[in-house]
């Protein structure tokens, strides 16, 4: 077969010549290879100081969005939980009371909303399933913890703070879902 990579080598098991059987030239060649590598550029990215540039489609930690008036978008329809292949999402729905219109956009909202970050596979299907543009995966990294329980993120971790809105413009570019 023709070689596609141009790296094909014919293997043979012919007996070694005397020079080859000394092994010393081969060892010397090997040491030259390692010497060459000693002066090559390091491939390491020193993480906390330097960060790798993420791709625009990178899927990291989730965020539950608020709209322009600071109301939670999520209506606790459960479509994200249904779509989730890892069954990482659970929620409890609650009816919006009078006087809570400034907190929740829809008449129903999620009283609790939990994502188990150890189960989550960051596939992004929850984001695709969401009809209310409430859940998004951002380019933030899920921090490490010592206890398993700390990986179950509730609304306190997921809903964005009103004064610290999280930029998801990279993922919301199409506007297919209509205006927020």
């Amino acid at each position: 077969m023709e070689s596609l990579s141009n790296r094909k080598k014919v293997v043979s098991d012919k007996p070694m010549t005397f020079v080859e059987s000394l092994y010393l030239p081969a060892i010397f060649n090997g040491m030259m290879v390692t010497l060459k590598h000693m002066f090559q550029r390091r491939k390491t990215i020193k993480y906390p100081e330097e960060q790798r540039v993420f791709a625009p489609v990178y899927r990291g930690m989730h965020v539950l969005k608020r709209d322009e008036q600071g109301r939670e978008n999520c209506t606790a329809c459960g479509l994200c939980a249904v779509a989730c292949p890892a069954e990482a999402i659970t929620m409890v729905a609650e009816e919006r009371k009078k006087g809570e219109e400034h907190l929740y956009r829809e008449e129903k909202y999620a009283e609790t909303y939990e994502i188990n970050m150890l189960r989550c596979i960051f596939c992004g299907l929850c984001e695709e399933a969401c009809p209310k543009e409430a859940i998004f995966l951002t380019d933030r990294i899920v921090p490490t913890e010592y206890e398993r329980g700390e990986f179950i993120y509730g609304k306190d971790m997921l809903v964005e703070k009103i004064d610290q809105r999280i930029d998801i413009t990279k993922r919301q570019s199409t506007g297919k879902r209509g205006t927020v």
Partner: protein
């Protein structure tokens, strides 16, 4: 009794002790750095600038670990093993001439703890004792992997000591002396033994790798088959002493190679200097050579994979010893011819 002599030797011993340990400590750091560079990585760089405090951090870690002694082990031998390994690695430095005499406080001070007239024999004796530390440590652990490691270490050392000794006889023949000072002084300037005895150097160098249990001859402690070999059961500073003694042994081996084949403290153009300046330059040249060989030891470790045990024995008994014997016979004949025996 000359008290000044005692003080002088004592100071020299303490300095040598500290230098040996310091170089061994920083060898661990440099080994990790070099391994990283060869593999296109950065290596330890967190403890202090460029990670130069890493050996101290490692030492503190070793001290803080639990010092565990297995229940069925032979406790005294278990404790003595690493001590012997470290002790034998350190006492070789007593006979190494580190430089020419210096004049200080109106005295001529020799930069050598003791000038044995049988320095080469002493060196071999001490190197041979070195195997006892590993052997005792492996035996006392009461663990089959440790014992395997210890058996491998002893068989390897015994096999390679033969070739090492025979290759050294050529140097002794050429120098006509067993004193290391004489051997070094004979290689004045650039007149090094390596130009006359390249084959002996090669055999000696390979045997040094085997004697110090360095790759590609690190069979006694290979992780994949023996789970660490003779130090499987060791923890805390006892493990630290075993690992450390390997680095001290590497330092001493490099010093021996530099001394026997690369002129020791001699360097080209040394006749232009004299007195204490010459001594300082000589010591500098000697250490430069030692560091170069430490570098080569590490370079080889991170290049060549480990030997199989039968290959190791094959190389030792069927290749190196015949080469060393033939080399010795040829050297002897040439010297006899030059002396006018025929």
């Amino acid at each position: 009794m000359d008290y000044a002599l005692i003080i002088e030797k004592f100071v020299l011993v303490v300095i040598l002790f500290l230098i040996s340990l310091g170089i061994a400590a920083y060898s661990t750091y440099f080994e990790r750095k070099l391994a990283a560079w060869i593999q296109d990585r950065v290596g330890p760089d967190r403890a202090g600038p460029f990670g130069i405090l890493q050996p101290i951090a490692d030492g503190v870690k070793m001290f803080l670990k639990e010092d565990f002694i297995p229940q069925n082990s032979d406790k005294w031998l278990f404790i003595i093993g690493p001590g012997i390994a470290m002790f034998t690695a350190l006492i070789t430095s007593a006979i190494i001439p580190w430089g020419p005499d210096i004049t200080m406080f109106g005295r001529t001070i020799s930069l050598q703890v003791t000038d044995f007239n049988i320095g080469v024999l002493y060196m071999f004796g001490v190197v041979s004792i070195g195997v006892y530390g590993i052997m005792i440590g492996g035996w006392a652990s009461n663990n089959k992997y440790s014992l395997f490691g210890a058996i491998r270490a002893s068989s390897q050392m015994i096999s390679y000591e033969l070739a090492m000794g025979i290759s050294l006889i050529t140097i002794v023949l050429m120098s006509g002396s067993l004193s290391l000072t004489d051997i070094v002084n004979r290689q004045h300037g650039m007149d090094w033994n390596i130009w006359y005895q390249p084959v002996a150097f090669l055999v000696f160098f390979i045997c040094s790798l085997a004697e110090t249990n360095r790759a590609p001859f690190d069979l006694p402690e290979c992780e994949s088959e023996l789970i660490g070999g003779y130090h499987t059961e060791y923890s805390s500073m006892k493990l630290g002493l075993f690992l450390f003694s390997e680095y001290v042994a590497m330092f001493i081996s490099s010093a021996l190679i530099a001394m026997l084949f690369f002129g020791g403290y001699n360097f080209p153009g040394m006749d232009a200097f004299s007195g204490n300046l010459l001594a300082v330059l000589c010591v500098g040249a000697f250490f430069a050579k030692i560091f170069f060989f430490i570098f080569v030891f590490m370079w080889i470790r991170w290049t060549i994979p480990r030997f199989r045990f039968d290959q190791l024995m094959h190389l030792g008994w069927k290749t190196l010893i015949p080469i060393a014997i033939i080399n010795m016979l040829i050297t002897g004949l040439v010297i006899a011819f030059n002396e006018g025996w025929f």
